[in-house]
Amino acid sequence: MSTAVLELRHLSKTFRGRGMAPVRAVIDVSLEVAAGECVALVGESGSGKSTLARLALRLIEPDAGEVILRGQSLMRMRGGTLRRARRGIQPIFQDPAASFNPRRTVRSLLSQAIEGAGRERAGEAEMAALLAAVMLKPAAEYLDRYPHELSGGQRQRLAIARALAPRPAVIIADEPLSGADVSIRAQLLNLLIDMQARSGVGYLLITHDMHVARAFSHRIAVMYRGRIAERGPTGSVLAAPLHPYTRQLLAVVHSLDRLPRDATAKPVRSAAGTGCGFHPRCPLASETCRKLEPMLRELGPGHSAACHHAASKEGGGDPIQSQPQLIPGINAC
């Protein structure tokens, strides 16, 4: 893989509110995205993946850690320098209805995206090219519409066009597909593939859907309660997941072609006090897990996990390794 265009280094964020217990949303997370790469960040709601996205976009300030875009730290930038630099990293959000100023037309939205803080007027041709790239053709039909006059799928395509307008190095897409029907989902993924082929943009795709992660990503990072539980090449993570949480996520995927492993209807879970955050739900939890927080260790080529019970791939003999392969890894995009 080529060098990283986006590096997240040891990011941490705790939310404190009056009369509220502090919430450790992101804890010491490091992640890289290379040019032309797609990294899927997978986790349940409350795992901190959306907070991580906002940290990476520098929409909120981390308590610790750095965001490095094309080798330069966004953390040390201020004012105009920051404003120019941040155009290199663009978001796509889950809800296309909330993603646009409802009082601006498509023309106004796109010209804003193309110009940024600059003064020069965006050309009609450039806007038309952007719209054509996301299959909103002919441009004349869309330029003077308001976002609410578009369908949900069209709006999400417009969001892709807007994100591409500043020619970013990375796009951070926070659940961009979860509101979309399956036929729209395929359409949006195809667009993302085309855009990547054309511009070499890197994607950090945040999703709760293992199915999408499997089909679309080169690498997968699994987040649980603010930490990276496991990360590695998609094929390797899917074929031989190292963390019990990853295995659980894979087991419950409702695929059309493979019977999901039977989940038992478990009673209420208690929260972890100390040790590994996953131990209350973990079938392998031991005394060590309850006391000691596991570190993220590299156990295979580019494949790491934060689990006391995960053994290196060369090690063999570990009971976890003999688990059946759940979903064959398909290295995509």
Partner: protein
Amino acid sequence: MMRRSAAWSWLAGLVQRPAGIGSALFILLLLVVALLGPAVLPRHPLALGDQPMLPPGGAYFLGTDDLGRSVVAELILGVRVSLAVGIVAALATTVVGLLVGAIAGYVGGLIDTVLMRIAEFFQVMPTFILAVAIIALAGPGLTRVIAVIALLSWPQTARLARGEVLRVGQLDFIAAVRSLGIPEWRILLGEVIPNAIGPVIALGMLIVGYAILLEASLGYLGLSSPAIVSWGRMLSVGQRYLFSAWWLSVFPGLAILATVLAFNLLGDALADLLSPRSTT
């Protein structure tokens, strides 16, 4: 072309609210009367007549007062005062309130805390008594009345504006625009305020009504300049003759009622119309 269709649907929305369109037309009528009224009156409205205390009907239509002046003419002069006070006071209140509220909500932190404490300080004061005290000490005058009204009602607007700015500020599209490298002041002016201003404008309409009422109350208490005719002052004079010449109290009272009601109804209709829901 799309712009026109947006304005069109907006108009159509107003028409669908009969109370809104009715009150808008009534206010338009008041404005016309305020601008043209004195010019078309047959003689100077304050010229003393030789027939005091005429009941309604006849040549003077709504009768005359104790000095023989036409009640209609006085009402028409009063429209000017009431509208001027109401509109200028509401405008001043809205501008100040919006500015303070938007800055407090958008910048947050210490600035927010300080501005909102100041707003609270003004809000806990008994408004009317304070207004009476200030005018009694400083002396009557339209500008002073307007200033007092603005001083006392900006916190309400500021709080509303702050809440709206906070709500809009956390929407995804603001994050998207920020990521495009747009300067913060342009985000505030170009993205946040246009989406937060609807309820503030609606509140402004209510403040027009409130200001008219407050001016009338001050006039009624004799705290307005004796040199001008206002509805409140007419009431103040009329109450002395409440039993002998009812028309001196009833007509200015009705004028105040109708005008305040019209601005309130227009405010409600605008609140409905400017809410983001009505556009989707």
